[in-house]
C-alpha cells in the first residue's frame, strides 16, 4: 500500500486510527510494554526475514518496502493458530490487553531462524509486560509452542505448512521483490533539497520517546536503511560499524561474537528484543543519555566516530573524533544539527585483551541502568599495558574514566590495586539522586561493578577478599 501521511507518524497510529486494525494495543507509547508489538518482514540479501518491533516507536518512513504484519494478519479465518491455542489452553490470557503483543512476539519466534528452544521462546517475549498472569502460564504456552516447532528447518515453509501462520506468508518474498523494484525509482523523497535542517532518524527508539509530538510532522531524513550506513566489517584489526547497524545486527555478527564471546549476555541486559531490532548504535551515542548502555560499552573500547554534515559534501566536510570527546555536558554534543555519524570503529580486542560489561538496574531486564560500566584491558603477562574504563549514570554524560584508566596502566592486579582503582574512580564521578537511585547508591554500585569487572576478568581473585 502507499500513503501520503507524514512519514514521521508512528506505525501504531497508522495501524489503529488509519487502518482501523485495533488488535494492536496502546499501552505506553515508549516501547516499554510490548502491547503494540507487530512484525516487519524485509528482504535481506534476498532472504525474507521477520523481526518484531514496537509499532509505537516506528515511524512509517521506516516501514517502506516492508511487510507489516499485525495480529489480524496472523489470524486464520476461523479458529486459533497453534500459538493462540497454546496461549488459550495455558490460561495465559486474563484481561487480554497485552495478549496480542505476546502472540505477535511468539509469531516472531516461530519465524526466527534461531533454534526453537525454551530459552529463545522466552527471550522472544522479553519485551512484553503482562500485569495479570504472573507469566507462569505464558511460559507454559511458550514451551508448548517450542514443542510444535521441533521439526522446523526453514521457518516460512514450516509455519505455513503446519498452519501456524496463514498460507499467504509463502508468497510474501516474491511480493516484496516486486515491491522493491517498483519503489526503487520513487522511494521516500530525500529531503536534501529542503532548506530546513532535517531531523535524523535511525531506529527512532529514543527520539520517539523523547519527542513524540514533535516528530510526526517533522522534516526527517531516515538513516536506518541507507546501505552505506549499515553493516559490520573487519578491516585489519579494526571493526567498522555502520551507524545504522542495530543491536540485533551486532548480535548476529560473527565479528562481534568472536571479539566479545559474552556479547549476547551483555545485550540481554539491554532493552528487549523488539527494541534491539530497531535501536541503532549511533542512536545510542547521539541521544547522549548519561547511561546509554552501548555508549558505555564503546567508550571503554575508545571507539572513534566520523561525523558528516547533511547534505554530504563528500570526504571534505567529514571529521573524526573519539567517542569520549563527543560529550560536552548533559545532553550536549560536539556535533552540529547538520551532522550525523557516518561511521564507527574501534580496535578489535586481541588475544591478550580482556573486556567486560556490567549493568545494574531496578529490574534486571528491560530497564535503564542505575549504573553501568565497561572495562577493556590490554595485558602483557600479568601487567596491564593499556586500560579503558567507562561508567554511566554517575555524571551528566557517559563517562570515560580517564584517571582511572591511566592509573591502571602498568599495574598488576592485586586487592590493593582494585581498592585504589575504586578510589580513583570515585574522584571522577558526580552522581545525582533521581528515580534510578540515590547518589550514595550509585557511588556504592560503581564500586561494586568495578569489583565485578575484576572478579570476572581475573578468576583467581577470591570473592571473599574483594566482597569485604
Amino acid at each position: 500500500m502507499a500513503t501520503d501521511l507524514p512519514p514521521g507518524m508512528v506505525l501504531l497510529d497508522f495501524i489503529r486510527y488509519q487502518q482501523h486494525l485495533v488488535g494492536t494495543k496502546i499501552g505506553c507509547r515508549e516501547g516499554d510494554c510490548g502491547a503494540c508489538t507487530i512484525l516487519t518482514g524485509e528482504l535481506n540479501n534476498d532472504e525474507l526475514q521477520y523481526h518484531t518491533v514496537t509499532s509505537c516507536l516506528m515511524p512509517i518512513g521506516n516501514a517502506a518496502g516492508k511487510h507489516i504484519v499485525t495480529i489480524e494478519g496472523i489470524n486464520h479465518k476461523e479458529g486459533l493458530n497453534p500459538i493462540q491455542q497454546a496461549m488459550a489452553d495455558a490460561g495465559a490470557t486474563q484481561c487480554g490487553f497485552c495478549t496480542p503483543g505476546f502472540v505477535m512476539s511468539l509469531a516472531g519466534f516461530c519465524l526466527d531462524d534461531k533454534p526453537a528452544t525454551k530459552e529463545n521462546a522466552i527471550a522472544s517475549i522479553d519485551g512484553n509486560i503482562c500485569r495479570c498472569t504472573g507469566y507462569k502460564s505464558i511460559e507454559k504456552a511458550a514451551v508448548d509452542i517450542v514443542e510444535k516447532l521441533k521439526d522446523k528447518k526453514e521457518a516460512i515453509p514450516f509455519v505455513t505448512e503446519q498452519k501456524i501462520l496463514p498460507e499467504y506468508f509463502s508468497g510474501i518474498k516474491e511480493r516484496l521483490q516486486r515491491l522493491r523494484e517498483s519503489i526503487n525509482a520513487d522511494t521516500l523523497k530525500d529531503v536534501a533539497g529542503i532548506k530546513e535542517t532535517p531531523h535524523f532518524v535511525g531506529g527512532g527508539t529514543d527520539l520517539y520517546v523523547q519527542k513524540h509530538d514533535e516528530m510526526k510532522d517533522a522534516t526527517i531524513r531516515f538513516l536506518l536503511h541507507q546501505p552505506e550506513l549499515n553493516g559490520i566489517a573487519k578491516e585489519d584489526n579494526k571493526c567498522i560499524i555502520g551507524p545504522s547497524a542495530t543491536v540485533s545486527d551486532l548480535l548476529h555478527s560473527a565479528i562481534i561474537h568472536e571479539a566479545f564471546p559474552d556479547f549476547h549476555r551483555y545485550a540481554k541486559l539491554v532493552s528487549s528484543t523488539p527494541i534491539r531490532n530497531m535501536a541503532t548504535i549511533a542512536g545510542n551515542f547521539i541521544n547522549a543519555s548519561p547511561i546509554g548502555d552501548f555508549t558505555i560499552f564503546f567508550l571503554a573500547l575508545d571507539a572513534q566516530i566520523s561525523l558528516t554534515p547533511n547534505p554530504s559534501p563528500g570526504e571534505r566536510g567529514k571529521r573524526t573524533l573519539p567517542l569520549r570527546k563527543l560529550y560536552k555536558g548533559y545532553k550536549q554534543l560536539d556535533k552540529t544539527p547538520e551532522e550525523h555519524i557516518d561511521k564507527i570503529w574501534f580496535e578489535l580486542p586481541g588475544k591478550n585483551t580482556l573486556f567486560h560489561f556490567e549493568k545494574v538496574s531496578k529490574r534486571t531486564h528491560l530497564d535503564i541502568a542505575s549504573v553501568n560500566s565497561a572495562i577493556h584491558l590490554k595485558m602483557n603477562g600479568d601487567v596491564i599495558d593499556d586500560a579503558g574504563i567507562s561508567a554511566g549514570g554517575v555524571g551528566p554524560v557517559p563517562l570515560y574514566l580517564q584517571k582511572t584508566s591511566e592509573f591502571l596502566k602498568g599495574k598488576k592486579i592485586s586487592e590493593e590495586i582494585i581498592h585504589e582503582t575504586i578510589k580513583t574512580a570515585q574522584t571522577e564521578i558526580s552522581p545525582i539522586s533521581d528515580a534510578r537511585g540515590s547518589k550514595e547508591y550509585k557511588r556504592l554500585l560503581l564500586r561494586q561493578l568495578i569489583k565485578a569487572h575484576f572478579l570476572k576478568l581475573f578468576p583467581g581473585i577470591l570473592a571473599e577478599s574483594v566482597l569485604g
Partner: protein
C-alpha cells in the same frame, strides 16, 4: 473450563474502550491538570487555547451545571478545580477538539497562575498538622495496657510501605454519546458503572435514568478503576451534555500515571509483646495512611487495614488506631488487598523484629500464633480457621526442614550469593466492609431458541468473572456453554450495582445469577411436570434433555423452552442476592463484617547476588484455601498473578514523588513492574480443598485479592538473605526492598 474470552483475546478481537468504532462527529477530550501540588488559582487564561485550530470548547469549573463534585464517600473532590488545587495532576480544564492531537496541542497554550501553598507529602506530618480525612478509628480487644506486664518480651518499631501504581495495561478512558431526550450513553473502562452513572447525574444535575453506562471489559483494573475511572466518564459526559456531540478521552500513559491515585503508602508504629512460650499477648499499632488530597476510598481502605492488622494470628489484647492523613498527592485509592496488605506488613515486621532479637526464625512465632476456629478477631467476628491446615500442609508438602537446611548449607559455602527464606500465612476477609454494598443483581433471559443471555453487575477485567457467571448458568440449566452469552455490564439492564471489587464479585453476582436461573428452572420444570404428568421434583434437566421420573423424554431443552413460552410463562428473571448474617456496628467497632475468610501459607525463597545487590526468587510454594474451586485454571491464574503483583510491590515497584509532590516515577521507563525474567523461577500452588459449607458461589472461595498478600513474604525473604551476608545490617522495615536498598544494607555503613 478455559476463560471464555480467550478466543477473542488471542485473536486481538476483544473490544476495549479505545477499540469501539467511533461515530461520525466524535470529538476528543484532554485534561489540563495542575502543575503544582497545592495552591490558589490566581488566574486561568484559556483564550489562546480556545482560539486554536480544531478546538471546539474548553470547559472549566464554571461550566458544571450541577454539583462540581466527584467524591464518593465524602464530597471533598472537585471534578475541575475552581479556586484551589490540591495535588499535581488535579484537573483544571477540559479541552475538547476535533482531533486528539488538536486537543493536546491546545493544552500547552492554557495559562494558569497559581499562588503556591505549603505542600505536604508525608502522612505523619499531615497528622501533626491535623490534616485528617476522617476522625481516627480504633479497633480494640482485651486490654493492652494491662497486658504488657504479662509479656516476657516487648518490641517496638516502625514499618513503612510505599504505594503501588496499578499499571493496568489499558489506560483509563471513556466515550460518551448523546441520546435522544438529552440522555447520555457512556462507554467507560470502569469497575463501577453505577459510580460513573451516579456521579455523572450529580455533576450534570440530571436524573440517573438519563445516564446509561456500559462496560464490556477492562484491560486490567486492580482497584485503579473502581473509583478513579469515574472522573473520565463524567468529563466526557460534561462535554457531551453541552455540545450534544460524542466525546472520547483515552488517557495517555503519563497522564494516567500523574493524575490518578495509587495504593496507599503507610507509615506505622508497632509494639508487640510475647510471653515466654512465644505467644503474642499484646499488640498495638498506629497506622498513618497517606490518603492523598481527597477521601476517594481512603476511609474504607483504612478500615480494612484495621480489620487485617493481626493477619492470620490470634492476639488476645489488641489496640490498633488508624489515621487517614490528607496530603498533596493524587487521592490514593483501591488496589488489590485494599489496605489489608499494609496492615499485615506491620505485624509481620513486628514478628520479624521479635524473632531477630530472640535469635529465632520468625516462622516459630508465626506458627505458634495461628488462628484457631473460634478465636475472636479484634472486631468481634469468630474465625472459622483454615490457618493451621494451610501452614501444616505447606510445611509437610514442601518439606520445610529440608528447605531450611539447604539454605543454611548454601549460605555456609557461598560468599557472593546468599539465600533467604520466609513464610507468610495469610487471612483475608471476604465481603465489602460497608455492609450495604453486599448486594447484587442478575438478569437472565432465556430466548425461544433456547439460547440464554445473562447480565449482571460484574465487570470483566481479566479475573474471569464472565466465565464463572457462564458456569453458573450452564450448570443450573445443564446446557452447552455455547448456548449462554454473558452481556456487557450496563446500568440500564442492572441498576444500583456495587463495583467489581473486594474479591466478592463472583460470589455476589454468581449467587444472583443462580437465583434467577433457579427461578426460571422452576417454571420450566413445572411445564414439564404438567406435560409428563408427574411432580416437579421428578423432572430433571441433563445435557439439554428433559428427564421425567428418571426416564429420558422426547423433549429436549429447546422444546421445553418453547413450550414454556407457548404457555405464556416468563422466561426471564431478575435475581437479587444479599449474603445473610453480615453486620457491623461502627460505634462499637464490633460485628460480623465478613461472609467468610480465605487462608493460605506461602514459603518464598530468594537468592541475592551480594556483589551487585540484585536478586532472583527461586521459588514460591503455596498452600491456598480455595474452598471447592469452580474453575481451577482461572483460580490458579488469579493466584499466580496476585503473587507476582505482590512481589512487585515489595521489590521493584517504587513510586517516587519529589518534595513538591511531583511524580518522578511517571512512566514505564521509571516505574518498573515484573517482567518475565523477574518472576520466581517456580510457583507451586497446592489447593487446600475443603468441602465445608461457606457463602461462596458453589463453595468456591473468592480468589482475587488474597494471593497478593503472599508477596509480603518476598520482603522478609530478602531481608533474611541480606542478614546472611551482613548479620549486623540495620535494615529499616521499609518496603519495597529495591536492589538499591538491598545493596545499601549489604554494605551498611558504606564509606566511599
Amino acid at each position: 473450563m478455559k476463560n471464555i474470552d480467550s478466543y477473542t483475546h488471542v485473536r486481538g478481537e476483544s473490544v476495549y474502550l479505545d477499540d469501539i468504532p467511533v461515530v461520525n462527529g466524535t470529538l476528543y477530550a484532554a485534561v489540563f491538570d495542575s502543575p503544582v501540588a497545592h495552591g490558589k488559582i490566581k488566574s486561568l487564561d484559556i483564550r489562546e487555547a480556545a482560539a486554536m485550530h480544531g478546538v471546539v470548547k474548553i470547559f472549566t469549573a464554571k461550566d458544571v451545571p450541577g454539583d462540581n463534585q466527584i467524591g464518593g464517600i465524602i464530597p471533598d473532590e472537585e471534578l475541575l478545580a475552581s479556586t484551589h488545587v490540591h495535588f499535581c495532576g488535579m484537573p483544571i480544564a477540559l479541552v475538547v477538539a476535533e482531533t486528539d492531537e488538536a486537543a493536546r496541542v491546545a493544552l500547552k497554550k492554557i495559562k494558569v497562575v497559581i499562588e503556591s501553598l505549603p505542600v505536604i507529602t508525608d502522612p505523619r506530618e499531615a497528622k501533626e498538622k491535623g490534616e485528617l480525612i476522617i476522625p481516627s478509628r480504633t479497633f480494640q480487644i482485651g486490654d493492652t495496657i494491662n497486658a504488657w506486664h504479662q509479656c516476657e518480651y516487648v518490641f517496638e518499631g516502625r514499618a513503612d510501605t510505599n504505594g503501588q501504581e496499578h499499571l493496568y495495561i489499558e489506560t483509563q478512558g471513556a466515550y460518551s454519546l448523546p441520546q435522544e431526550n438529552s440522555a447520555i450513553r457512556i462507554y467507560s473502562s470502569t469497575q463501577g458503572p453505577t459510580a460513573v452513572q451516579r456521579t455523572t447525574a450529580r455533576v450534570l444535575n440530571i436524573p440517573m435514568h438519563q445516564v446509561e453506562v456500559d462496560t464490556t471489559r477492562l484491560g486490567g483494573g486492580f482497584g485503579g478503576k473502581e473509583d478513579q475511572a469515574t472522573t473520565w466518564g463524567v468529563m466526557c459526559a460534561l462535554a457531551t451534555y453541552h455540545l450534544k456531540k460524542p466525546v472520547k478521552y483515552s488517557l495517555q500513559r503519563m497522564e494516567d500515571m500523574r493524575m490518578t491515585g495509587k495504593r496507599h503508602p503507610y507509615s506505622s508504629d508497632f509494639k508487640i509483646g510475647l510471653n515466654k512460650d512465644l505467644k503474642i499477648v499484646a499488640y498495638e499499632a498506629t497506622f498513618y495512611q497517606n490518603a492523598g488530597a481527597a477521601a476517594d476510598l481512603s476511609p474504607a481502605v483504612m478500615e480494612r487495614t484495621l480489620f487485617h492488622c493481626t493477619n492470620s494470628y490470634f492476639v488476645p489484647n489488641v489496640k490498633a488506631t488508624a489515621y487517614s492523613c490528607r496530603t498533596n498527592l493524587p487521592p490514593n485509592t483501591a488496589f488489590r488487598g485494599f489496605g489489608g496488605p499494609q496492615g499485615m506488613f506491620v505485624i509481620e515486621a513486628a514478628i520479624a523484629k521479635a524473632a531477630d532479637a530472640l535469635g529465632i526464625s520468625a516462622s516459630v512465632i508465626q506458627q505458634k500464633n495461628l488462628l484457631q476456629t473460634g478465636d475472636e478477631f479484634p472486631y468481634g467476628q469468630k474465625a472459622e480457621s483454615e490457618a493451621n491446615e494451610c501452614w501444616d500442609k505447606a510445611v509437610e508438602l514442601y518439606d520445610l526442614e529440608k528447605l531450611q537446611k539447604e539454605i543454611s548449607d548454601f549460605n555456609h559455602s557461598n560468599k557472593q550469593y546468599k539465600k533467604g527464606m520466609a513464610l507468610m500465612p495469610i487471612c483475608f476477609g471476604i465481603s465489602f466492609t460497608k455492609t450495604m454494598m453486599n448486594q447484587a443483581r442478575a438478569l437472565v433471559h432465556v430466548y425461544t431458541d433456547g439460547s440464554v443471555g445473562v447480565s449482571t453487575g460484574a465487570v470483566e477485567m481479566g479475573q474471569g468473572v464472565n466465565t464463572k457467571m457462564l458456569q453458573v448458568a450452564t450448570n443450573i440449566f445443564s446446557i452447552d456453554p455455547a448456548k449462554v452469552k454473558i452481556n456487557s455490564t450496563n446500568t440500564y439492564r442492572i441498576a444500583n450495582t456495587s463495583p467489581s471489587a473486594a474479591s466478592a464479585t463472583a460470589d455476589l453476582n454468581g449467587k444472583a445469577t443462580e437465583i434467577a436461573c433457579k427461578e426460571i428452572l422452576k417454571r420450566l420444570k413445572k411445564v414439564a411436570a404438567e406435560e409428563f404428568k408427574t411432580s416437579e421434583e421428578n423432572i430433571d434437566l441433563k445435557d439439554e434433555w428433559v428427564y421425567a421420573n428418571g426416564e429420558k423424554t422426547m423433549w429436549e431443552w429447546k422444546r421445553l423452552v418453547f413450550e414454556t413460552y407457548f404457555r405464556r410463562i416468563s422466561l426471564s428473571e431478575h435475581g437479587h442476592y444479599t449474603p445473610p448474617d453480615i453486620h457491623y456496628d461502627l460505634k462499637k467497632e464490633k460485628g460480623h463484617p465478613f461472609a467468610y475468610h480465605v487462608y493460605g501459607t506461602v514459603i518464598i525463597t530468594v537468592t541475592i547476588d551480594c556483589l551487585r545487590g540484585i536478586y532472583e526468587f527461586d521459588s514460591v510454594k503455596v498452600v491456598h484455601d480455595f474452598g471447592n474451586s469452580m474453575n481451577t485454571i482461572i483460580d490458579i491464574g488469579q493466584c499466580e498473578g496476585g503473587i507476582v503483583q505482590g512481589i512487585g510491590w515489595m521489590t521493584m515497584e517504587e513510586i517516587v514523588y519529589d518534595k513538591e509532590g511531583k511524580l518522578l516515577s511517571n512512566a514505564l521507563s521509571t516505574y518498573k513492574v515484573p517482567d518475565i525474567y523477574s518472576v520466581p523461577k517456580e510457583i507451586d500452588i497446592h489447593f487446600l480443598a475443603t468441602q465445608k459449607d461457606n457463602l461462596a458461589i458453589f463453595r468456591s472461595k473468592a480468589v482475587g485479592e488474597p494471593p497478593l498478600l503472599y508477596g509480603i513474604g518476598a520482603y522478609f525473604a530478602l531481608r533474611n538473605a541480606v542478614k546472611a551476608f551482613n548479620p549486623s545490617a540495620d535494615i529499616p522495615y521499609d518496603a519495597p526492598m529495591t536492589p538499591e536498598k538491598v545493596l545499601m544494607s549489604l554494605y551498611h555503613p558504606f564509606k566511599k
